[in-house]
C-alpha cells in the first residue's frame, strides 16, 4: 500500500471538518466513525467542542438517562448528529427498517432508533454511509424512518446537512430538496459516483478531490483518538491503524 492513510481515516477526517463551529455534538448507536470524528473535532477545537458518545461512560456526560439526548435535541442544545440508513434516496429520506414492502420486508435492519425524531430537530444532521452502491443510494426508500424534508407547517428546525459516503461528500439543499456533490474522495471519480447512485443529484462542472487528512490529524487519530473511541467501540478501535 502506497497510501499514507486508510479510507476510514479519510472518512473520520472529512466528518471532523464538517463539525467546525459546533458547540455540542452527539453520536448515536453503531456510529464508530462519527464517534471518532467527533472526538477528533474536539481535539482540534482545543476542547471548545463538547462531545457525547452514546455507549461511552467517560466520553458521555449525560446524567438524566436515555431521554436526555432527545430533550437536548428538542431544546436546540445539540448542533450536529449522525444518521445512516440501509437505504437513502435523492430527497434525503432514510430507511433504517428494511428493504421490501413493510411489514413483510425481504431484508430486515435493526430499526429506526431515534432518527424519526432527531432528523427533525438537530440543525446539522450528517448522513454517513460508507457503502455507496445502488443498493443503498436508491431512487425511493422502501420505508421512511425519517423524511429529508417536511411541509412548511411541520415543526422542523433540523434536517440533513451533508452526506459522507465511501466515495464522496455531498451537501443537501433543503429548499431544492436535492443533493449536490461537493468532492470526490481520492482514488474515485465522478463517473464512479454516478454509476453507483440510484438518484439524480447536482454536480458542478469541476468537482474537487476531498483533501487528504493532515499528518497532525493522522497522528491524533492513531494515538489519542484510537484510545478514546475504544471505550465505546473496542472492535473498531482495534481495526484502526496505530
Amino acid at each position: 500500500m502506497s497510501a499514507a492513510f486508510t479510507s476510514t481515516e479519510l472518512l473520520i477526517a472529512v466528518i471532523a471538518r464538517l463539525l467546525e463551529g459546533c458547540r455540542h455534538v452527539v453520536t448515536g448507536a453503531s456510529s464508530p466513525v462519527p464517534g471518532a470524528a467527533a472526538l477528533l473535532a474536539r481535539e482540534i477545537s482545543g476542547g471548545a467542542l463538547r462531545v457525547n458518545v452514546l455507549g461511552a461512560t467517560r466520553n458521555n456526560s449525560f446524567t438524566n438517562g436515555g431521554v436526555e439526548l432527545f430533550d437536548l435535541a428538542a431544546q436546540g442544545r445539540i448542533d450536529a448528529f449522525f444518521l445512516g440508513g440501509g437505504q437513502i434516496d435523492g430527497q434525503a429520506n432514510i430507511n433504517l427498517v428494511g428493504a421490501g414492502r413493510y411489514p413483510d420486508v425481504e431484508v430486515r435492519w435493526p430499526g429506526s432508533f431515534g432518527s424519526s425524531y432527531l432528523y427533525f430537530l438537530v440543525p446539522r444532521v450528517i448522513l454517513f454511509r460508507e457503502e455507496h452502491t445502488r443498493r443503498v443510494m436508491v431512487p425511493r426508500v422502501d420505508f421512511i424512518s425519517a423524511p429529508g424534508v417536511s411541509p412548511s407547517n411541520v415543526y422542523r428546525p433540523g434536517g440533513p446537512y451533508k452526506m459522507v459516503t465511501g466515495l464522496g461528500l455531498f451537501a443537501f439543499d433543503r429548499t431544492r430538496c436535492r443533493f449536490r456533490l461537493e468532492s470526490v474522495h481520492p482514488g474515485h471519480s465522478v463517473q464512479e459516483i454516478v454509476d453507483n447512485t440510484g438518484f439524480d443529484f447536482d454536480c458542478p462542472g469541476q468537482v474537487s478531490v476531498t483533501p487528504a487528512p493532515e499528518s497532525s490529524v493522522l497522528q491524533l487519530l492513531r494515538g489519542r483518538i484510537r484510545g478514546e473511541i475504544a471505550e465505546a467501540y473496542p472492535r473498531f478501535a482495534t481495526s484502526l491503524a496505530s
Binding site: S30, G66, V97, R108, G114, F120, L121, A146, S150
Partner: protein, 276 residues
C-alpha cells in the same frame, strides 16, 4: 432465609406470567441476562416485550426461544456484531409482531405512565412510515397554536420492568447511579424486578451520596442476587462484554438448529456459567 422483596432467581422469574408486558433496558444499562436464562428455562410464552428504547442479545434470545409474541422497539441490534439473526428469522417467518417505534417515543410514553396521564405529545415523526404504521398514535393540532400538527402517544405502563443493577439493600432499595431511565422505568411499571451484583447490609437511603441514585423500595417487587448477572453483556465499569461468548452465540444462531443447540446448553443446569 430471604425475606421479601429478596428472593432467588427462579422465584424472581416466576413473577413474570405468560402474556405480560415486559419492559427491559438497552445494553447501555444493566440487562438482566441471568434472569432471562431463568425465563427461558420456565418457558414463559406470549410476552409483549418493550425495549427501552432498543435491545440486543436479550431480545434476540427471548425471541429465538419463542417467549415473545410482540416486540415494541426502536431497534434490535447486536451492535458491532451485525444483525440479530433470530429476530430477523422470526420476522421473516411471521412468528412475532413488531411494533416499530423510535427511541424518544418509548421514553416519552413511559414518562406519561410515570405521570399517570393517558398520553403525551412528541415532536418529529410526522411524515414517517413509523407513524403511518402505528394506528395507536394520533396527530392533533396544537390546541395552543394554529397550524402546528403534533403527534400524541399513548402511555406505556408495563406490567413488569426487569433489569440488572449494581447494588440493593435488605429493605428493597436499589442503587442505579447514573442510569436514570431505570428510575423512569420503575416509576412507570406496575412491578419492578431487579437482579443485583450484590446485596448490602447497609441502608442505601442513609447514604447521601448514593440515595439520589436509588430506586426506593416502594417501587420494587422482587430482588435476586445474581453475580455477573448481565454476563455475557457488559455491565457499566464492572465488566466488559464477553466478546468471545457473544461471537460464539452469533456464529451458532445463524441457523435454527445451531440456535437450538446453543440454547439447550445455555439453559442446562450447571455449577459454573459458561455460554457455549
Amino acid at each position: 432465609m430471604l425475606t421479601a422483596p429478596l428472593c432467588d432467581l427462579p422465584a424472581l422469574a416466576a413473577m413474570i406470567p405468560n402474556g405480560a408486558q415486559l419492559a427491559v433496558p438497552s445494553e447501555n444499562c444493566g440487562v438482566a441476562m441471568a434472569a432471562t436464562r431463568e425465563l427461558v428455562r420456565r418457558g414463559v410464552r406470549g410476552l409483549h416485550l418493550v425495549c427501552v428504547p432498543v435491545s440486543g442479545l436479550q431480545a434476540e434470545i427471548m425471541i429465538g426461544a419463542g417467549l415473545v409474541e410482540t416486540v415494541e422497539t426502536s431497534a434490535v441490534t447486536l451492535a458491532e456484531l451485525g444483525p440479530a439473526p433470530r429476530f430477523t428469522a422470526a420476522l421473516r417467518d411471521g412468528k412475532i409482531r413488531v411494533l416499530d417505534s423510535t427511541c424518544p417515543a418509548i421514553h416519552a410514553a413511559l414518562q406519561a405512565a410515570q405521570k399517570g396521564i393517558p398520553f403525551i405529545p412528541l415532536r418529529g415523526l410526522i411524515g414517517t412510515d413509523v407513524l403511518a404504521n402505528r394506528p395507536d398514535w394520533k396527530v392533533i393540532d396544537n390546541p395552543f397554536r394554529t397550524d402546528d400538527p403534533i403527534v400524541l402517544l399513548p402511555a406505556i405502563q408495563p406490567d413488569i420492568a426487569l433489569f440488572h443493577a449494581p447494588l440493593a439493600d435488605r429493605h428493597g432499595n436499589v442503587f442505579i447511579g447514573r442510569w436514570r431511565e431505570l428510575l423512569t422505568l420503575a416509576h412507570a411499571a406496575r412491578h419492578t424486578l431487579v437482579t443485583v451484583e450484590q446485596i448490602t447490609e447497609r441502608d442505601l437511603m442513609e447514604d447521601p451520596e448514593r440515595s439520589p441514585g436509588v430506586i426506593p423500595a416502594l417501587y420494587v417487587t422482587g430482588i435476586a442476587e445474581a453475580r455477573r448477572g448481565a454476563w455475557p453483556l457488559r455491565f457499566g465499569a464492572d465488566y466488559p462484554t464477553d466478546q468471545e461468548a457473544v461471537e460464539r452465540y452469533v456464529a451458532a444462531a445463524r441457523t435454527d438448529s445451531g440456535f437450538r443447540d446453543w440454547l439447550q446448553a445455555w439453559v442446562a443446569p450447571r455449577p459454573a456459567q459458561a455460554l457455549a
